[in-house]
């Protein structure tokens, strides 16, 4: 094609342009139909009126957002008070997702570092091993985890048998169980970007730091961490964002008390009891929150870079 472009006139240029249009089509389809359109639909639904058997009535309404933030009593005619139920669920989601992210980071970073520092020929095997558990369906993994962790499950049996504890510790139906579930669901999303960053890291920088009297710990903190920061941040975002909206782990491992935003949204669309506009509104609020967090981070990052440069 390069030879054609060199020798030919406008005809080849046109062919080239046409080819480019077609080749770019998958990208446009992904961006519009698969990304923007669903979000747009969700946005529209959140401003419609609910139909009692599920679905919507095409009538503009702010009721969904009103229900999320304000309490107007059982019959809807009391003076508006702030509705804390959903805000609390939201807050719990952030907290749980944050804890799961930190857990993933604490376990995932050393794992990624370990893999990236193996001989080059061994690394693909380690990466492969990390991903193997994820070939099993998430639901099955989460249910299995519940069985493993319950009061008379193998985990407690083991701790009892080695005499570490006298009576089973309750893990299932606690916040910690949810964090553990989320951590296990999304760990590879933490490990893989950090692995990619550490693999690209020039280890002679760590040697230079050691040469200049930095202990291993200081070299890690002052030289390696800043260099692999983009990978760490990517990992944190990839774990935090899906954890926020997750409903499997909270439902199965958390019980009714540890309700998260994902479960709230899920319920609105399940069966006939749901409230589509409310579910859509909660989704939009979740999306907005995440976007605000990411933008705040990006801005702070840009500022830090300007200040340094």
């Amino acid at each position: 094609m390069a030879a054609g472009a060199a020798s030919g006139g406008s005809a080849t240029t046109d062919t080239y342009k046409e080819a480019r249009t077609w080749l770019l089509l998958p990208a446009w389809v992904t961006l519009t139909i698969l990304t923007l359109a669903p979000v747009g639909m969700m946005l529209i639904y959140s401003f419609l009126t609910k139909e009692f058997r599920g679905g919507v009535i095409w009538e503009f309404s702010l009721a969904a957002y009103d229900q999320f933030f304000f309490d107007r009593g059982l019959f809807g005619d009391d003076p508006a008070k702030i509705e804390w139920t959903y805000i609390l669920i939201f807050w719990r989601s952030i907290w749980q997702a944050g804890a799961a992210t930190i857990l993933s980071l604490v376990i995932g970073f050393p794992t990624a570092y370990f893999i990236a520092t193996r001989p080059e020929s061994q690394r693909p095997i380690w990466v492969f091993l990390i991903t193997i558990p994820y070939w099993v369906n998430l639901l099955i993994r989460t249910v299995s985890m519940k069985f493993l962790l319950r009061d008379n499950g193998p985990f407690n049996d083991f701790l009892l048998s080695i005499g570490l504890i006298d009576s089973p510790i309750t893990i299932v139906n606690t916040n910690f169980a949810v964090q553990l579930g989320l951590f296990y669901s999304y760990l590879p999303f933490m490990v893989l970007p950090i692995y990619a960053a550490v693999e690209r890291y020039n280890f002679s920088l760590s040697e230079a730091a050691a040469d200049l009297y930095a202990t291993k710990w200081v070299a890690l903190r002052r030289i390696l961490l800043p260099a692999v920061k983009p990978g760490v941040i990517a990992g944190c975002i990839l774990v935090f964002v899906p954890s926020m909206g997750s409903f499997l782990a909270p439902d199965l491992l958390g019980g009714a008390k540890n309700f998260m935003i994902g479960s709230l949204i899920e319920e609105q669309f399940k069966g006939n009891a749901g409230n589509w506009p409310f579910g859509a509104a909660a989704s939009m609020i979740l999306l907005t929150m995440v976007l605000i967090l990411l933008m705040a981070y990006a801005r702070q990052q840009a500022k830090a870079e300007n200040a340094e440069g």
């Binding site: 230079a208 040469d211 200049l212 800043p226 340094e308």
Partner: protein, 363 residues
């Protein structure tokens, strides 16, 4: 501290093995205080391994290393008062030039302000003050090189290790940096250990050179020693250009050895210990020690025919075909053209030399 007789680095029987492969075979050498010492050899000869063992990046399989009398081979790199200039500079990309240079000082306990003041002075020394707020990626290769140098010198190391620091620079810059490094070494009085595969660089800069090959030290001596009196074939071949000829020793008398070159040619040179009558050995003659003439000289002389003249700027290289013998390379300096003659290709002439220009080599 500047005691001339003091040993800065003493390597005693250092061995480095990687599994079955032996990278260093029992190296022992003493590097003196205030010396510009060079480890010279082709890639894979073990010179960088030895440097990294002194720095602390490689374990010593056997043997010991002493730094001003203290045994250091078991200390981690951050506890050894030596600093390294790395081949790829290894500047910290996220830090400014100033912070790069201040890093080592800070790690040694200087306050941030003190470290930065000292670092500023170091940058002045390498003439890079105006770049102190920049990031390494914004500097050219030569500038990065000087930052690496300033960073390694800032904590005032007892010994500075330089791992092929000039190999990434272009020729002109490299020559300038060679001089700058030499001056810096004299000014600071710090012992420099310099690793290079470039023999010209080694000859230009060093007080002493250790020539290495295949994990072994081939010769240790001053640049003149190594150039004029190579101990073996490897050194003669590796350092500079030379005519290496296979000869058989016919006769030895009064300290002189008569060697047979083949084709009826004979040369007399100084006797070398370990080479007896009848041995087949190599002989090295530097091309610049030869001159051409119409007539045979009183000393040593070989008859031949000019094959080709090659102009190489400062010199003219002439390839001479000895009748029934090997080819010879003769170098004539362009500045010498008044005294020395250049012959047209095809001309019959004599290649003359002083006694002692040819040197027998232990293989």
């Amino acid at each position: 501290m500047s005691n001339k007789e003091q040993i800065a680095i003493d390597v005693r029987g250092a061995v480095k093995r990687y599994g079955d492969f032996t990278a260093l075979k029992k190296i022992s050498l003493s590097i003196m205080d205030n010396e510009f010492f060079t480890l010279l050899g082709p890639s894979g000869c073990g010179k960088t391994t030895l440097l990294r063992m002194i720095a602390g990046f490689e374990d010593v399989t056997e043997g010991a290393i002493f730094l001003y009398g203290d045994e250091i081979e078991n200390l981690p790199p951050y506890e050894r008062p030596v600093n390294t200039v790395f081949q790829n500079y290894a500047l910290f990309p996220h830090m400014t030039i100033l912070d790069n240079v201040a890093f080592g000082l800070e790690m040694r306990g200087a306050s941030k302000a003190d470290a930065r003041t000292r670092a500023g002075e170091m940058l002045e020394l390498v003439q890079l003050s105006q770049f102190s707020a920049r990031k390494p990626s914004q500097l050219s290769g030569g500038q990065q090189q000087r930052v690496a140098l300033a960073r390694a010198l800032a904590p005032k190391p007892k010994v500075l290790l330089l791992d092929e620091p000039l190999s990434a620079l272009d020729l002109k810059l490299r020559k300038a940096m060679q001089l700058e490094l030499k001056h810096l070494q004299r000014e600071t009085g710090i012992t420099f250990i310099f690793v290079t595969h470039d023999q010209e660089e080694a000859l230009t800069m060093s007080d002493r050179i250790a020539v290495m090959s295949a994990g072994e030290m081939q010769q240790l001596g001053s640049p003149t020693d190594i150039y004029e009196r190579p101990r073996n074939m490897f050194v003669a071949d590796f350092i500079g250009e030379t005519n290496l000829l296979e000869v058989s020793v016919d006769n030895i008398a009064e300290g002189r050895a008569v060697c047979h070159l083949g084709g009826g040619h004979e040369l007399t040179c100084n006797e070398v210990e370990g080479i007896g009558v009848g041995s087949k050995v190599h002989l090295s003659i530097r091309p610049e020690r030869l001159f051409m003439s119409d007539e045979p000289a009183e000393g040593e002389s070989l008859k031949g025919r000019v094959k080709e003249n090659i102009f190489v700027g400062t010199d003219i290289t002439t390839i001479v075909d000895l009748a029934d013998g090997p080819d010879f390379i003769v170098r004539t300096s362009n500045s010498d053209r008044g005294n020395k003659r250049i012959f047209e290709p095809g001309t019959e002439m004599y290649v003359n030399m002083e006694l002692g220009a040819a040197r027998l080599l232990v293989d």
